[in-house]
Amino acid sequence: MSKKEPVIFVIGWNACINCGVCVAICPQEAGFISPFDTIAVDRPCDIACLLCEDICPVSTITHKPA
């Protein structure tokens, strides 16, 4: 598997319903979370599997290059 480029997640807070499903699917180690019960948005994700984007019920997670 090719190594993926790290990303920083961007959450559209206007649509976020704080359901926590992005954290539930996230394979990162403990603590990759924001104070609003979402995945972290203040540091790079080096796994970049993007499962959080796929599972978000309101599709409000995107990313930019880290």
Binding site: I17, N18, C19, G20, V21, V23, A24, I25, P27, E29, A30, G31, I33, D37, L51, D54, I55, C56, P57, V58, S59
Partner: protein
């Protein structure tokens, strides 16, 4: 400040955590229950259906404080709208109904009030409760106990415990602290969205709508929510659709065989969440640590229901830990395996069987075949003759 010493520190005051706390405290353990929220149960991530049996089994009296509406049965629909009604008011009228001497089959509860009620019961049993308290980590300290690192209203606090109980839900961090394999597959986590609505009639039944067309990988539901309100929701498996749950819910409301029924619906609340349609965690314990409830994935993989399993699992954990610690058994991983074995015997083995049933359905590649099997399985699951109906 001297470090406080507890028998149990429980992280997360949902149904699993507070029930563990209540049974442990009743049997003399010194218990600290913490939750990071200011209001338990919120934001709501659950539809709130629970059987009366599940409440009674753990000594919870159905109380108006948390009940939205009583439930008397089920309506299971296939993708075309054909349905099987399992109404216990008709099947067993001597037992079930709204009249005197009759009882409901179950309830739809308000998770905010329900979780608070259960926490209150734990507190009255002697549990100490801290809200606005987040768990940051833990460390076994070599003398048989562990240190638990907490942050309460911005203050960092370390407490000592014999056992840390992770009851911190599907997003569990506690399991990750212990290095347990908590990761859930994308094919087994349903992405759910629901609306609380006005102007949709219900008849005391939990309605479950199957079919790939409406909810690929999961199902849709219409539940009574009290005061004339209803709850319309669905869960989808992301790998089985290109669209999100919101799109599917919109389709279900506006394009399905229920579009006439829903045409005047007005949205009062929007809620979402993840529902694992997965097996329980294979390892739910480590040195000085166990997991309960959603954190241990104690969720029914057919229905996605998690309240009953959280309550029962909490009772099992609370009893086990009280017996265990009152005898002075060292809480090593090896000894705490007893909790999991006990849980498997009482509940978990049945959940593993349900997982196999569920897996067989979604392994079918042919959509029509899969739809037919899911409809048939749901209809028989809720029938009075189901061998599983008490999960």
């Amino acid at each position: 400040m001297p470090t406080s010493q507890y028998d149990l520190v429980i992280i997360g005051s949902g149904p699993a955590g507070s029930t563990t706390a209540r049974f442990a405290a009743q049997q003399g353990l010194k218990v600290l229950l913490v939750d990071k929220r200011q209001e338990l149960g919120a934001p709501i991530q659950c539809s709130g259906a629970v059987s009366r049996h599940a409440l009674e089994e753990v000594g919870v009296t159905p109380d108006e404080e948390f009940i939205h509406e009583p439930i008397y049965g089920f309506g299971i629909y296939n993708e075309k709208g054909e349905r099987t009604i399992i109404d216990y008011r008709r099947l067993k009228p001597d037992e079930y109904g709204a009249g005197e001497g009759q009882k409901p089959l179950g309830y739809v509860v308000d998770r905010r009030r329900f979780d608070r009620y259960l926490m209150t019961q734990a507190e009255r049993a002697g549990t100490e409760v801290w809200l606005k308290t987040e768990g940051l980590g833990y460390r076994p300290n070599g003398d048989g106990g562990c240190e638990v690192f907490l942050r309460r209203f911005n203050q960092d606090i370390t407490v000592k415990a014999l056992v840390l109980v992770g009851a911190d839900g599907l997003q569990s961090q506690v399991g990750k602290w212990a290095g347990l394999r908590t990761h859930i597959k994308i094919t087994e986590l349903a992405s759910c969205l629901q609306f609380i609505v006005d102007q949709v009639e219900t008849e005391g039944l939990l309605e479950i709508i199957t079919g790939h067309e409406w909810a690929p990988g999961g199902y849709a539901w219409v539940f009574p929510k009290g005061h004339g309100y209803a709850e319309i929701g669905l869960g989808v498996i992301p790998t089985m659709t290109d669209k999100n749950a919101q799109w599917h819910l919109d389709q279900f409301i506006h394009q399905s065989f229920f579009k006439e029924r829903f045409k005047n619906s007005r949205i009062l609340e929007i809620q979402g969440g993840g529902v694992p349609l997965a097996s329980p965690l294979r390892t739910q314990y480590a040195d000085n640590l166990i997991l309960v409830g959603d954190a241990a994935r104690h969720v029914n993989p057919i229905t996605g229901g998690g309240i009953h399993t959280a309550l029962s699992g909490g009772q099992i954990a609370g009893h086990f830990l009280a017996g265990f610690l009152n005898e002075g058994t060292p809480p090593t991983a090896q000894n705490l395996e007893g909790y999991q074995n006990h849980w498997l015997e009482e509940l978990g083995n049945k959940m593993w069987k349900l997982y196999d049933v569920k897996t067989d359905i979604f392994r079918k590649n042919d959509i029509r075949e899969r739809d037919a099997l899911l409809y048939q399985t749901m209809a028989s699951y809720f029938s009075p003759h189901s061998e599983y109906k008490k999960i």
